[in-house]
Amino acid sequence: MKFDAAQLMRVAEEVLKYFYTKGARSVKVAYDFGTERSFCAISTKDILLTAEEEDYVRRVFEGPVQPEIANYYGTLAGRRRDELVMELVGTMAELEDVQNEEGLGVVIVLSRREQEYRSARKK
């Protein structure tokens, strides 16, 4: 399995766990694996995030992807354990979209680029 695909799966698993701790019991996870970029969408209709929780999710993904952290510590993410490692997840993927609406539920769309990550902005 490609490394980046495995990393994205870990990320999705961690967000799934986050939804579970917030009370969701029916959660859908969908992937779209591309050659240069892959996406995953995690959705549930069971819960709505409070404004504070939505802000937390956005803050987690606010900074850039940090390959030096994601590659080393990435194996800590996505294990079905008691602890959440959302801050680690924030270094592993980019936030594409957060939908948090009555009726729709919560949808978080994340993406991960293939290989050429740089945490520093290229001049």
Binding site: R59, Q66, R113
Partner: protein, 430 residues
């Protein structure tokens, strides 16, 4: 495959990363100026000291302040930090918590085991691992920097085993490269054992490699050379400089972030488990304040236990300051340190022995246990750490500089299943 350079969204993180890089450059300057000042700007003394540092077998504990003096030791630290900062720059890695921790750890251990010559083989090994994995070196840079824990292996092979030149140098290079190469996957793998509750994870991995190497050498009848070097120095020479540096960190943090107080209050609630990048989530201002405060606290602990202000102890102090950007803060650090100190007093080791004094400082590697499970758990795991660290050094024969990281990994991994079960039992999930 097409290469798309990653363009992250503009955020405060980029600005913080630039400021952090500047601060680390300033830290490099402080190390250099102190080293030169203590040596009386005598380049001859520094050159002779550097030679003594480079050719000494570096198995634990080899205090450079003892074999060469504080001046050359700090100049060596400055050179090693310069190499590390240059590699981070070349890899285009943003400076945040892990990078700060790595730089300070390298600075600290460059006072007793790492030097400008023996850090290269391990880093070359990590680079070759990236090449073989067809991944950018930037992804492996943190392991490469922390992986210099095995630097004594190269020094030992080059200058301690009695091999003839130039074969000894060639063998040292090969040994270091192989160790650096295999450290990269092993460091990732052993995270699972303690689940991020041991902050010095690379030390845990390096401990296994050191043990494997030592076992092989023993089977072949090869004995390691290198003696115990430990300078007895008072705080007068270094504490004032360090205090000014810690105060400067706090002032810089307060200037950088006018809202540092609220950020710092949030930081203090972090369990500190890997990965807790304080720069990314609480800002550089609060992180610098935390680093300064932790510097003062660790200094106070050193004064309380009557520690010598030599290379290893100052190394431990700098490592704590560095990891205060990556998991450590007063609330989660003091319980394991107190536990280790108490156990030292209760045991036959006592608080006066170098091993115990180092263990008290480095027990802070278990800060996440206190952060997640409370001060009592932190205190108890600190006690376990002290008894383990006195024994596990014999397994790798001092080849792994992060001996406390090795013991910390074992202590966390042994404690964790019990703590986890207790928590689930209390929540009626068992």
């Amino acid at each position: 495959m097409a290469i798309f350079p990653y363009e992250p969204p503009q955020s405060g993180f980029d600005t913080d990363a630039r400021h952090a890089r500047f601060a680390l450059s300033a830290f490099l300057g402080v190390l250099s100026v102190y080293g030169l000042t203590v040596s009386g700007f005598d380049l001859g003394t520094i050159a002779r000291g550097m030679v003594a540092i480079i050719i000494s077998p570096d198995i634990l504990i080899n205090d450079y302040a003892s074999i060469a003096g504080l001046g050359p030791a700090f100049v060596n630290a400055a050179l090693c930090v310069f190499v590390a900062l240059s590699l981070l720059r070349l890899s285009r890695v943003s400076i945040s918590g892990p990078a700060i921790a790595a730089i300070f750890t390298i600075a600290g251990f460059s006072l007793f085991g790492k030097n400008i010559a023996n850090i290269w083989p391990g880093m070359i090994g990590a680079y070759l691992y990236s090449l073989a994995s067809r991944r950018p070196f930037s992804e492996n840079i943190i392991v490469a920097l922390f992986g210099t824990a095995l630097a004594p292996l190269s020094s030992e092979v080059a200058f301690g085993l009695g091999l003839a030149l130039p074969w000894s140098l060639f063998a040292a290079l090969c040994a270091g490269v192989v160790a650096g190469f295999i450290l990269s996957p092993i460091a990732r793998h052993v995270l699972d054992f303690h689940r991020g509750y041991n902050l010095y994870n690379t030390g845990f991995a390096a401990g296994f490699i050191g043990t494997m190497t030592m076992s092989t050498l023993k089977a072949l009848g090869v004995t390691l050379s290198g003696g115990f070097h430990w300078a007895e120095l008072g705080p007068v020479g270094t504490l004032p400089w360090l205090s000014v540096f810690f105060a400067a960190l706090m002032i810089a943090g307060m200037k950088l972030d006018p809202g540092w107080f609220n950020s710092y209050k949030r930081l203090l609630t972090s369990p500190g488990r890997l990965v807790s990048d304080f720069v990314r989530y609480y800002g550089l201002g609060a992180t610098f304040v935390n680093m300064g405060i932790m510097g003062f606290i660790a200094s106070a602990v050193m004064l309380l236990i009557g520690a010598s202000w030599n290379g290893p102890m100052i190394g431990g102090l700098l490592t704590i300051v560095g990891f205060s950007a990556f998991g450590k803060h007063p609330r989660n650090t003091l319980p394991p340190m107190l536990g280790a100190a108490t156990m030292a007093l209760m045991s036959t080791y006592g608080l006066g022995s170098p091993g115990s004094q180092l263990a008290v400082l480095f027990a802070s590697t278990l800060a996440p246990v206190a952060g997640e499970y409370g001060p009592v758990a932190g205190f108890m795991v600190g006690m376990l750490h002290l008894v383990l660290v006195q024994v596990v050094g014999g397994l790798h024969g001092g080849l792994n500089l992060y001996n406390n990281g090795f013991a910390g990994g074992l202590a966390a991994g042994l404690f964790l299943p019990v703590l986890e079960w207790l928590r689930e039992w209390r929540r009626h999930e068992v």
